[in-house]
């Protein structure tokens, strides 16, 4: 890819990310083009439609999350419950930073191949971590990776739904983790 093309693509993604972060999920391609300082056509060349742009946005961030999850799952000797908490905290932080990221993570199974693959990867790593945490008594039976992901997205919503972003993040995360433990 040409240097300027790459630069433009990056700018567009950056602007789109910022728009989402500002809570504007309309992703108007004309607006994005203007903000990015490129022509509309350039945006359309890189991303034939709004969905493709969202996809690209997702993939990037999602991959990073998958990497984190794998690292956590691979840390075999470590304290699994603590690893899980760290991973969920990391993920929650990302969701709060980036509304688009949250949207992707939450989007139902009907996503594109790439996103579905990423989700499968994530759930795989998470399942491993969960199993180890369950053996350590920190996770109840009947809760799988899919549930944890969904519940964490819910926690993300709860945190965001006050103006006081992030002030409650730690508390709510703790509520989730306590709730996931086997009932007394």
């Amino acid at each position: 890819m040409r240097a300027d093309a790459a630069r433009n693509r990056a700018r567009v993604l950056q602007v789109a990310r910022e728009q989402l972060a500002m809570g504007d999920d309309s992703l108007m391609l004309n607006t994005i083009a203007r903000l990015a300082g490129v022509g509309v056509g350039t945006v359309y060349r890189h991303f034939p439609n709004r969905h493709a742009l969202l996809e690209a946005l997702m993939a990037e961030r999602f991959q990073q999350l998958v990497d984190e999850a794998r690292a956590a799952a691979a840390g075999a000797e470590e304290d699994a419950p603590a690893s899980l908490r760290r991973l969920l905290r990391f993920t929650l932080g990302r969701m709060l930073d980036d509304a688009g990221f949250a949207a992707v993570l939450e989007s139902a199974g009907g996503a594109d191949a790439q996103t579905s693959a990423l989700r499968a990867d994530l759930d795989g790593a998470l399942a491993e971590l969960l199993d180890r945490a369950r053996r350590a008594g920190a996770i109840r039976y009947g809760i799988e990776a899919d549930d944890v992901r969904r519940l964490l997205c819910g926690i993300g919503h709860a945190v965001r739904s006050g103006g006081d972003d992030a002030a409650h993040a730690e508390t709510y995360l703790d509520v989730l983790l306590e709730g996931l433990r086997p009932p007394r």
Copy 2:
């Protein structure tokens, strides 16, 4: 209000509710008018803009919830934790039935006077119930009515975010209630 005017208003609200329930949150007033069998102008007479319609929609459902919450809070002799669980289960059920209702409940503080008042009412009743549940050892310190409402909305998202609506509702609600208990 003339009888036919009242009837038209009710029809519009009904159609709007159905649209929201079907997951179409665009609330196009022309469409609603058509579906309701009235002219656009009629919709605008009753609801000067889209927001006013949403407001009206909210108020109705929200009031019912407030009534439930007050009844639960007033049941002084009863088992407070059980009352709380019932109330949250009722609320969650509503949220799953009616996406619009969920949206209202979740909407941030920047709502209109009427909605804000309803929320205050809800939180008042919920706070009372929480206090009693806390005295019964079922709720940790540092969790207030606002938190419970937000977390419950999050649970609603988690439940909805699978195709398997409601299949996980009870489990996720249990995770929430366990998580709200004082840490061991």
Copy 3:
């Protein structure tokens, strides 16, 4: 239909007709709206897309032609070859006045129901007239209504294809009619 709606519809059709007559077959709905002094939305309300506008344009003129053809076919006592010539001359005149009309008449069978019906009507009347003209020795075997319509459209093209519109119409029409006679 409301008075102003009818007026607007007529204006739009009128402008569209003029545009076509000027040889601009792009039929840009925004342009038409501006020229007609109405909003774009008004055009779209009456004609959801360009094709619908063309259709409407066609129908009106086409119906008049069908009426003429029927009258000619019904004039049982008259000189059939002369009637045919008059009808073809009338049709050719229309085609030269109105490029849109010519386009409709020529458009292949893949047209809409309404247009197809009109064409069938036309061909019916024309077939009747042709049979009578054939009995009078003015039409060769093997030439049907469909052929005459197609050939006449071709003559229309030939006339138009010089800057000298209409100067050759009568001659070319005569060439057609002579050519349609049984070979010597």
Copy 4:
């Protein structure tokens, strides 16, 4: 011209011809470039704008026709009416094969110098042939080369305007030639 440049030019012309033959007269240069396996810039190097491409396309085919016409005109000893028929049949065949060719042949006098010159050449040869055919009693007075060209284009339209391309070509051509004879 470099060998590769010549090859590219030929490819572009070939693809453009195919597009026209497929009935797509939009001649989108980006599309043509892609189909030809060259960059857009290359197309623009050879043909500064769309019109230039059309011109080039025309010229090539048109020249071949002129050659045919001259050969027919030069065949002094032959049966002129038969030569004329052969020439018109050849031309009609070309028009049916290649919609772009038909468009060129038909294009009004306002064409470019090169095309105008070709048309003049064609009309010159055709006029000669017509004169000889007229002397043989096969062409009426008042019909000139220009008329024959225009009428033939019209016949082309008539043939094409059914789905049954070419099935009627011979009949319609015969209608034309009979029609061109002096009236009885």
